[in-house]
Symmetry: D2
Amino acid sequence: MIRVGIIGSTGYAGAEIARLLLGHKDTEIRFLVSRSFAGQPYEDIFRNLFTIIEKDCEDISLKEMADEADVIFTATPQGYLQGVLSGDILDKCRIIDMSADYRIKDVSVYEKWYSLEHHSPELLNEAVYGLTEVNRDAIRKARLIANPGCYTTCSILTAYPLMKEHLIERDSLIINALSGVSGAGRGAKIANLFCEVNESAKAYSVATHRHTPEIEEQLGLAYGEDLTVQFTPHLVPMHRGILATEVAKTVRKVSYEEIKDVYDKYYAKERFIRVLKKDMCPETRFVEGSNYLDIGFKIDERTGNIILMGALDNLEKGAASQAVQNFNVMFGFAEEEGIDMIPMVP
Amino acid sequence: MIRVGIIGSTGYAGAEIARLLLGHKDTEIRFLVSRSFAGQPYEDIFRNLFTIIEKDCEDISLKEMADEADVIFTATPQGYLQGVLSGDILDKCRIIDMSADYRIKDVSVYEKWYSLEHHSPELLNEAVYGLTEVNRDAIRKARLIANPGCYTTCSILTAYPLMKEHLIERDSLIINALSGVSGAGRGAKIANLFCEVNESAKAYSVATHRHTPEIEEQLGLAYGEDLTVQFTPHLVPMHRGILATEVAKTVRKVSYEEIKDVYDKYYAKERFIRVLKKDMCPETRFVEGSNYLDIGFKIDERTGNIILMGALDNLEKGAASQAVQNFNVMFGFAEEEGIDMIPMVP
Amino acid sequence: MIRVGIIGSTGYAGAEIARLLLGHKDTEIRFLVSRSFAGQPYEDIFRNLFTIIEKDCEDISLKEMADEADVIFTATPQGYLQGVLSGDILDKCRIIDMSADYRIKDVSVYEKWYSLEHHSPELLNEAVYGLTEVNRDAIRKARLIANPGCYTTCSILTAYPLMKEHLIERDSLIINALSGVSGAGRGAKIANLFCEVNESAKAYSVATHRHTPEIEEQLGLAYGEDLTVQFTPHLVPMHRGILATEVAKTVRKVSYEEIKDVYDKYYAKERFIRVLKKDMCPETRFVEGSNYLDIGFKIDERTGNIILMGALDNLEKGAASQAVQNFNVMFGFAEEEGIDMIPMVP
Amino acid sequence: MIRVGIIGSTGYAGAEIARLLLGHKDTEIRFLVSRSFAGQPYEDIFRNLFTIIEKDCEDISLKEMADEADVIFTATPQGYLQGVLSGDILDKCRIIDMSADYRIKDVSVYEKWYSLEHHSPELLNEAVYGLTEVNRDAIRKARLIANPGCYTTCSILTAYPLMKEHLIERDSLIINALSGVSGAGRGAKIANLFCEVNESAKAYSVATHRHTPEIEEQLGLAYGEDLTVQFTPHLVPMHRGILATEVAKTVRKVSYEEIKDVYDKYYAKERFIRVLKKDMCPETRFVEGSNYLDIGFKIDERTGNIILMGALDNLEKGAASQAVQNFNVMFGFAEEEGIDMIPMVP
C-alpha cells in the first residue's frame, strides 16, 4: 500500500488528485493538507466525496509528512516547495510537484519570469520534467517530478514530433491557447467570479505568461537548439479544457501522410495521445474528465503554414491525471491505473 | 460474457449507456443501433470514444437482435417499444426500456398523457418499474424493466420514505424540479440551441408534464392510496442534473431526528443514496457524472411545511447508470459494477 | 439638471444604476462612491464604460454628499444606511435605498431576520416601499424609498392581483424562485466563483431567506391580513434573471378568463408588466436587460391549484431600473425615461 | 419616415436589426419577411418584443417589397440575394446585405470559396463594402451595401491602421479568432445544440473559412498589394462576441507610442472604436450589446512580434448595429442614431 500525502488538497488540482487516487488500487491517501481548511472534514468542502472519504484536512509540514508518506503531491503556489524542499526529504519520500518550482533548469530564467528567488537550485538538476510520454524512463527513477503546466503539456506535446524532426521553422511557432476557468485556481478573486468570466473571452498575460519559458525550454530540447515561441493564453467560459492552436511555417512542402507518419512514430503506441482522423479538429469536450490529449493538424498550401491543434483537460492531463500517470510510472503500476476514465459527453 | 444491444444509441442516454458498459466487466456491446447514423463509425459521432470503440452504427430490428443479445437497452422515443415488443422476444432476450412505454400500469392513463395507443398492454403487468432501491427483488427476475424517467427518479426517491410512513399529507406535495438541457434530448430543434437556452430559465409543460402520472402512481403505491402531486418542471442552462424541491405539509410537528431516522430506515444501506448532513442542501454538481442521489431536507416550523430536496444526474441515476444498476441486479453483478464513478468537480 | 450620488457604485446594482443614468436626460452623476476603489477611474473598473464616463471613484460620506446631490442611490450592504441616515439628511436630499434597511415596517421583524440592530427606526414609517406599480402615488412625494429586493419584486407583483382579490387561499402560497448569480453580488467569495456555480443548481437559505418577511408583509397588505408564504430560493448558472414559480390553492374553481381579467384590472395600463398570452410561460431571457416583468399562469383543474410564473431581470426591475423608475416618478420624469430598453435576445 | 423591410427577420441578425430599428427615430419597419414563420406574429417568435411590435411575419418577394420600402436589409443565406437582385430593384430601393454575396470584388474568388455561381456579377462593382469607418463616403451614396462579416469586421479594423502604414510584414499576419455561438445562426442543427457546444472549445474550418478572402481583400487594399493571412476561427461557449488575436512581425523595432499614434490617426475621432489603455486587453463582455470595437495591442520585444487584439459583439458591430450604422450614413441620420447602446455588464 503506497502512502500518499497531498499538499494544497483544497485547490482544484489537489482535489482532483485526491479524487483519482480514491479509485486507485494499493494506494492510501494518508494526508490531506490545507492550511485554510485545517480541521474540516474533506467531504464538507468537496461534497462530491460525501460518504466516500472520511478524513479531515490537516496542517502538517512537508518534513513531518515525509516520514509517513511514500509520495507527496504538492499542488501549491509557485515558490512554496523550493523554499522548503531538501535532499534529506527526498531521501525519505518522493515528490510530484504541480508548481513551476523545478520545471525550468536555468534558475535565472525561473527567477526572472516568476519574480522569486529560488532557495534550492541544487535540486533543479535532479528534478525530472514530468511529461510522461517524453521522459518516461527518467520519471521511473526520479525522486522529484516537476509536473508540467496545463498550457505547456498541451502546447509541447502537440508540436513535439514536428520540432524533433525539424519539420517546422525553428522560431516560427505561434501558439494561441484557450483555457477553461479552473486553470485560474480556487482562490477568492473578483476576476474569477461567475459574473466576471461567464459570457466573455479575453487574452491575458500577453507576451508575459510564465508558461512561455517552459514551452521554449522543452521544445528547444526537442529541436536541439534554443528557440522562441509566441504564446498567447486566453480565458474562455468553461470549467475545464485547454485548446492550443499552433501555427508554424513548414520547412518545406509537406503532405498529410508525411506529417501523420511523424506523429505516429512518436505517439502511435501511446495510450493517452490520440491523433485524430484527417480534417478532424479536436474539441475539449471530447477529452473532458480524461487523461487524453487529442491532436489534429491541417496543412495550408496557400500560406505554407501548418496548423496544429491539441486539446486536453487542464485538470487531468494538464495537472492531476498526468501526475498520477507519473506516479504510476514511478511506482511500477500499469500506466493507466486509476486514470482510464472515458471522456464524458455532454 | 453478456451480449448487449442498444437501440437509440446516438441519443444522450443511449450513448451514456454505451460509455458505461465500455468500463463494465464481462459485457460486450454487440449492437449499436441507430437509424439516422447507420453505417457510420460510432467513434466519429461520439469522438470522446475515439480509439475506444470500433463499431459502426447499424439499423437492425429488435426481433433480429433478440437472437444474438442477452439484453437490449431501448433508449427510444415513447411509443416505439410498445409497438414492436412481444412475449416471444422477451423469451429470448431481456429488455431495459428507457421510455415511458411500460412505466404506467393503467393503460388508459398512459394513452391519455402520451396521446398514443398502447399495442402491447398485455406486457404491462409483467414490466417492473426500475427504481432499483424500491423494487430490487422484482428487478432481479424481470424480463422487462421500465426504467424510470429522470424527474421521476429524483422526485419519487426524495419523498418515498416520508410517503411510505405517512408523515406528509397525502395530496399536499408540490414539486418544482429543475433540469439540465440534456434531458431534452439530442434532436435538432431550435428550442434546444445554445442561444435559445443558455442564460435563461423557464418553467414548461406546467400542469401537463408526462412524468406527473408516473410520480403519482409510484408515490401512491408507497402511500397506499391514490394521490395527486403538483409537478412543475423547469429548464435551466446546464448540461446535466435534476434538482427537485418538494414542499409538503407534515401531518404533525416533526423533528429533524425523526425525519432523519425515517430516511435512514430506507436508505442507510443504500450505496447510491446519500442523505446529507443537517442543513446541507444538495447541489447537482456534487452528483454529476455519478449514480448518486443526494437528499437534504428542512423543517419549517413557521409554516408547518417540510422542504425536501433531491439532486441527481439526469443522464446517470436519472437514466443510464440506473439502467446499468438494474442490469447488474438482473444479471447477478455487484450493484456498483461499472457505475462506481465518483462525481467530478468542477 | 438633477445631481445624483451613488454609494456602492462598484457592485453590480450600483454599476447598473450608473449605466442607466448615463442614458437619462437632465441627470448628472456627480458622485460614484466606493471605499475599496476610491481614487480609481470608474472606466478602469467597468471597462464597458471606457470613454463614456470620466470620473474617479471617491470615498465621501453620505452627509457631505447630501449637500451637493438631489438624490442618492445607496447600493450598500444591509445595515449601512440605517446606521447613518437621519431626518436632517433627508431634508436636503432624497434617498433611494437598495438595501433592506427600510423595507420592513416592523423593526423587530427586521432585527430578527437580519440579526442587526436598527439605528433609525423613526424613519421606517416615512419610508415608502418602492414597488412602483403598487405605491406610485406615495413614491411621488417620498423622501426615502426602500427599493424592493429582486426576489420580492418578482414574487409580490406576480401574486399581487390574486391576493388583493382574495382568489387564492391566504396561507397556501408556495414560491420557488430561481436567481441568476449576479444577485449574489460582486464580493470575492469562493462560493461565487465560476467553477463553483457554473453547471450546477441548488436551493439555499431554505426556510430562512431574508426576502421572506418582505414578501409576507407586502402580500399581507394586499390581502388585508397577515399571512405566511413558503419561499425557497435557488441559484442557477446564468448572469441575470429571477423566475418565480408560485403555486397556490384557488378559493374556488376559476376560469382562465376570470384570472386574466383580474390581472388586466391591475396591470393592463402598466408599461412594464406584461401578462403573456394563454399557456405561455415567461422565460428570463425575454426580459433580460429590461425593466419588464413578464407574467404567465396556468390553472390546474386536476389539483385545484393555480400556478403563477413571473420573470424579471434581477439587476433591472429587481434592482437598478426599478430604482430609476422610482426616481422618474419622484422627480417628475416620464416613467420610462432612461429605462425603455428592449430586452436583448440572445 | 423611412420604410424598412427585413428579409430573414427570424434569424439572429435579422431579429437584432428589427430590435434596433424599433428604437430608431423616423423609421418604420414595414416588412418582416420569413418563409418558415410566415403568418405568425413576430412577438410570438421573439417574445422579448411582446407588446412592442405587432406585426406578422410574411412571405413577400424582394421585388414586390422594393415598391414599398426605402431600404431592405437582407439577412439571408449566401447566394440568395445575388440570385434575385437587379439594377431595377436598386433603382427603387436601397439594400443593405448581410450575406457575402457582394463582399468580394473578384467573382471567381467568391465562386471558389462559396461553391456558388454568381448571378449578378454586374452589381459587384457598384456594391460598397460596408466597413463604416473605412468607406464612409462611398457608403453615403451607395445603393447596395455589402455589410461585412463578424470575423472580418473585427479582424480587418484591428489590423487596418498598421497595414495601411506598412508597419507589419505583408504576409505575416496570423489571426486566431473566437466566436460566440450566435454566429452560427438560428438553424436547427445538432452541432449547435446547447449540449454540443457548451463547456467546449474548438477550431473549425481551419484553412478554409470563407471569411479569409474577405479579410485578405480588404487588408490588401489597405496595404496596397495582395496579401495572405492565416485565419483560424474558433467556437467558444458564449452567446455573443468575437475576439480576434492577431500576431504579426513588425517591419522594424517599434514603440508603444508609435503604434498608439498610428491607431489614433485613424480612430481617435471614431465614436465606436476604442483603443484601450496601455497593457489592457479587450474582453468581449465589455462590448456586448453595443456597436463598439475595442482594440488593445502589445509589442513583444523578445520575439519581434506585435500582438493585436480586437473585441466586438458579432451580432452588433459584426452584423446588425453596423448595418444600422451604414443605414444612418446612407439616409443622413446621426451615425449613432438607434445604436448608442452602452455595453451591459454582467
